[in-house]
């Protein structure tokens, strides 16, 4: 049997934990710091790249992803040095995807050319909203005009460009979202990540919500209507959904994220980064120290656990069913030794929430917005 990385890809994730400001909805591991010793960070990343390279000799690397935080706050020469080291260790796939997440402020856009020169070929820009009032409410540091300029610049600089929007926001009607998404599609991105606003505990929004604030959030009915509208408009514009929140022109899907969803192998480097690696026949989950300075002091110290087959199966279902292409029941049986309950499948088929073709099981249009409930049924106890 081929290994996971051969079957579903092999990626490298680098986490840059710093932001210029913390957004009120964000529950990622991001920190605001006035002094960052980028040389020290570079050295730590390099040592980790070396360490992982020694564990995974002979592999072909499909993707490198700089996530955060706000990696567009990294100096271009740091990015370049890291990518040089990566290329010295692994064979890069012919179509290797090298993505960097960026915020569209003018200062950060000024680095685009430097990133391109260092090897970055795809940017993912956190636009989030297309009007200044909502950008302010979301705590973003850029204006609508800056976002437009950054997108124009990104398109001329990089081969591929994604941008993110957050919808189902406070006081956002179905028509308002229709207008905004139409405007977004008119900018002709090749990839769009469209996330419904989620109130996470431990964020500023979470606190406000718990205290009875944050009014005007859509109820389930409106947010589902917005979800379906999103599917419809993107499909018409030639960017069908390939995942719950991700839309792309055919062939422009994020290869890096597909590694996660298809159950491939990835290395996670940086504070709080997670990884999944098949080593010596076992699937290893890795997890690092969350606190940036603690991580920096000792980057190689991380938690490693071997994932049992049933845990691997759960992850495969949890991640794989997010994809429009669905999961492979044959892989579930042969690789993880798991067979789903016929009665559960029958119930879900009767409710038209899933579809089965041969060994492929996927969610239906109606099933997608209730994926968590489907998982609660399907994932074995």
């Amino acid at each position: 049997m081929p290994e996971n990385w051969q079957e579903a890809g092999f990626g490298l994730y680098l986490h840059w934990p710093f932001c210029a400001a913390k957004c009120p909805y964000c529950d990622f591991n991001s920190h605001v710091s006035s002094s960052i010793d980028q040389d020290a960070w570079q050295a730590a990343y390099l040592s980790e790249i070396d360490r992982y390279a020694a564990l995974t000799p002979g592999r072909v690397l499909d993707s490198v992803y700089f996530g955060g935080g706000t990696p567009s706050l990294m100096r271009p020469d740091v990015v370049s040095a890291l990518l040089d080291r990566v290329a010295s260790h692994w064979t890069l796939a012919n179509d290797v995807e090298i993505t960097l997440e960026a915020n569209p402020t003018s200062i950060e856009a000024a680095n685009f050319a430097g990133y391109r020169a260092g090897g970055v070929n795809r940017v993912s820009i956190g636009v989030q909203a297309l009007n200044d009032e909502d950008l302010r409410r979301l705590g973003r540091m850029h204006s609508m005009e800056e976002a437009k300029q950054a997108l124009i610049l990104a398109k001329t600089t990089f081969e591929r460009v994604n941008f993110d929007l957050i919808y189902a926001r406070q006081d956002q009607s179905l028509d308002a979202w229709r207008a905004e998404l139409t405007q977004a599609l008119a900018m002709e991105p090749d990839h769009l990540s469209l996330y419904q606003l989620t109130i996470e505990p431990g964020t500023a929004f979470g606190d406000r919500f718990a205290a009875g604030g944050l009014h005007g959030l859509p109820g389930d009915d409106l947010s589902v209507d917005q979800f379906f509208l999103t599917q419809e408009l993107c499909e018409k514009a030639g960017l069908p959904a390939y995942e719950v929140s991700n839309h792309a022109k055919p062939g422009q899907e994020s290869r890096h994220n597909l590694v996660y969803w298809r159950g491939g192998d990835w290395i996670g480097i940086g504070p709080g980064a997670h990884g999944r690696l098949t080593l010596g026949g076992s699937r290893i989950g890795t997890e690092t120290e969350l606190n940036p300075l603690k991580w920096l002091a000792n980057p190689a110290q991380n938690i490693r656990e071997t994932l049992a087959l049933d845990e691997q199966a759960t992850e495969y279902l949890l991640m794989g069913l997010r994809l429009q292409e669905g999961i492979d029941l044959l892989r579930l049986r042969t690789r993880y030794g798991v067979t789903l309950k016929d009665s559960k499948i029958k119930d879900l088929l009767e409710l038209s929430l899933i579809e089965i073709e041969g060994d492929i099981l996927k969610t239906s249009r109606e099933g997608r917005p209730v994926l968590n409930a489907i998982l609660r049924e399907l994932v074995p106890d």
């Binding site: 994730y13 419904q196 719950v244 999944r276 997890e287 917005p369 209730v370 409930a373 998982l375 994932v379």
Partner: protein, 599 residues
């Protein structure tokens, strides 16, 4: 044996948090009954549940030696009594075992409902009552106002009320003097045949059943053979002793004294509160008046959440029953809930206490089904059935008529809440028997069906009167009424554990309330779920729980896999805890919450 003149027996009447336990602790401490280093707060409340809920379930007692200012040595016996309507009978027995009460009122708060209920018990028992105003160290203390309120509301003289701070110790000495000087000494004849009241009893792992008694006449010595007059059982007395509050063995108890005996009694069930203890030979022939055998009036099903714990549940119920004569149980099977027990209780608090003890002391998670009373079902063939569980209701075509238990309820309430109380009683099919005033307080007496009271009547009463009503009841026999069994169907499947008996005229209203409640209690599923109430085959109320429309995680990338996997596992575990009816998961709390009526 102590000379009668030098004995004082008393109880303390107080509302929760008014400082009863702290005052008791202080009295014990001031007299040196417990050494400083052995002091722990709330010496008398021994069970966790008692401490947490601020209630006393078992009667506790302590014997205090006190040399008064007059130079004479006294024995003071304090009985700490239960304070809830479920244990009204036990309270009345404890009250009969003493001659006086300290009425403790928080001088920052004033008289409250529970104070009233218990003080009337004390008045009923002809107690001398000494008012004590507690918490005078607090800035909000207002002794004049509270003393006036005691006179107005309770109708006893509070001019001599003792001002106390149980916290600082101020007034404790005066309280001890008042006990000696104002409370009467007990009366009794040491030469008459033995007559003692069984006040309470409980199980001790080392000594077997411990029986708390108050000697009225005669003397009881170690080694003598005693007879329980109601159960007619005979036992040799192994030990006699008193509580200080730890056990201290003595040789003899005489008239007026309060103490305990052990006599190789294996089960608490063999000892009945209120029974008369006498000698096997040459005993008294006059039993003490007022004895009532404990009779469960409320029944419900207790099922383990995890069916594998059924045997553990059986074990825990057997153990608890050994220690509680008023608690009954028999095995029950439910299509929905599996194997469990149908249990009988004195009332709802008793039910909750037993349930809590099983869950905590035996670590078994329980599903509790709707409480019910015992109906008498008269069949057309002349047979009479006692129906403990609505699920067992026979086919209506074979039933001639049904009778339900009624109670006489007495409610004392400040008159500003009278209207709400009358409405509540009317809503619960009550028939007004009497309405009188005492100052600004009204006393209403209602004839009510017990099934309208057992569930949430007391909660509703407290809520509509802001806690200012006191409530007591006694059983009044059975009466025929137009009663029917109402079934609940979820997704077209009957849920036996939700069946209830209701009056025909109120069935629609109750049915509507229940299906509306269930609609809120059952989580949305991936399909729509009809929820119906029905009598026989006829649907009388219906709601539809619409299908879940949205439950999806917006972002899930490599770093989220672990967290989302754990979340999914947690959700699955939560789902597993629910009960499955066909394809519908019903949360455990729904079985009780569905029955609570908001108005």
């Amino acid at each position: 044996m102590t000379d009668l003149k030098h004995i004082r027996n008393f109880s303390i009447v107080a509302h929760i948090d008014h400082g009863k336990s702290t005052l008791a602790d202080r009295l014990i401490q001031e007299t040196g009954t417990v050494k400083e280093r052995d002091m722990q707060a709330q010496l008398l409340d021994s069970m966790d549940i008692e401490r947490e809920r601020g209630i006393t379930i078992k009667a506790n007692t302590v014997r205090i030696d006190y040399t008064a200012d007059n130079g004479e040595a006294y024995v003071l016996n304090l009985i700490d009594t239960p304070g809830h309507v479920d244990f009204a009978y036990e309270v009345s027995r404890s009250m009969r075992a003493v001659e006086g009460s300290l009425l403790v009122v928080d001088s920052t708060q004033g008289v409250e409902a529970q104070t009233l209920a218990n003080v009337y018990q004390a008045i009923d028992a002809d107690h001398e009552i000494v008012p004590v105003l507690n918490k005078i160290d607090l800035p909000a203390s207002d002794c004049d106002r509270v003393a006036e309120q005691i006179e107005d509301v309770i109708g006893i003289d509070a001019t001599g009320a003792i001002q106390v701070s149980a916290k600082t110790g101020q007034g404790i000495h005066e309280t001890l003097e008042a006990i000696v000087n104002e409370l009467p000494a007990p009366q009794g004849d040491p030469d008459a045949p033995l007559k003692a009241m069984l006040v309470d009893s409980w199980y001790d792992a080392y000594l077997g059943v411990i029986v708390l008694i108050r000697v009225i006449d005669g003397k009881l010595k170690k080694g003598e053979r005693i007879r329980m007059m109601h159960t007619d059982a005979v036992y040799p007395v192994d030990r006699i002793g008193v509580f200080r509050p730890q056990m201290e063995m003595i040789d003899e108890l005489g008239p007026g004294e309060i103490g305990f005996l052990t006599a190789s009694i294996k089960q608490v069930r063999d000892t009945r509160v209120g029974d008369t203890v006498t000698h096997e030979k040459k005993g008294t022939t006059d039993a003490l008046p007022g004895f009532k055998p404990a009779q469960p009036v409320v029944f419900c099903g207790l099922f383990p959440v995890d069916n594998a714990e059924f045997e553990d549940l059986r074990d825990s119920i057997e153990k608890l029953a050994l220690n509680d004569a008023s608690f009954s149980s028999e095995m029950e099977t439910s299509a929905a809930l599996g194997f469990g027990f149908r249990c009988g209780f004195l009332g709802l608090l008793h039910l909750e206490v037993i349930r809590d003890r099983i869950e905590r002391e035996y670590n078994i998670e329980l599903i509790t089904t709707a409480p019910s009373v015992i109906y008498h079902v008269y069949m057309k063939d002349g047979e009479k059935i006692e129906l403990h569980n609505p699920a067992d209701m026979p086919d209506l075509s074979k039933v001639d008529h049904l009778e339900e238990p009624r109670i006489k309820a007495t409610i004392l309430v400040p008159d500003e809440y009278l209207g709400d109380v009358l409405k509540l009683c009317q809503d619960r099919r009550g028939i007004q028997i009497d309405l009188t005033y005492a100052g600004s307080r009204a006393m209403v007496v209602y004839d009510l069906p017990l099934n309208e009271v057992v569930f949430d009547f007391y909660d509703r009463l407290k809520s509509v009167t802001k806690g200012y009503a006191s409530f007591d009841y006694q059983m009044e026999g059975y009466r025929e009424d137009n009663l029917v069994k109402m079934s609940i169907l979820v997704n077209d499947e009957p849920v036996d554990a939700l069946s209830t008996m209701v009056h025909r005229d109120r069935a629609e209203m109750r049915g509507r309330a229940m299906v509306e409640k269930l609609k809120d209690l059952i989580p949305r599923h991936m399909f729509k779920i009809p929820i119906q109430a029905a009598i026989g085959g006829k649907v009388i109320a219906r709601e539809t729980l619409s299908a879940m429309r949205k439950d999806v995680t917006a972002k899930c990338y490599g770093g989220d896999a672990t967290r989302k996997k754990k979340l999914l596992e947690k959700q699955k575990a939560g789902k597993k805890k629910m009960r499955q009816f066909g394809k519908v998961d019903i949360p455990q709390e729904a079985f009780i919450s569905a029955l609570k009526m908001d108005s």
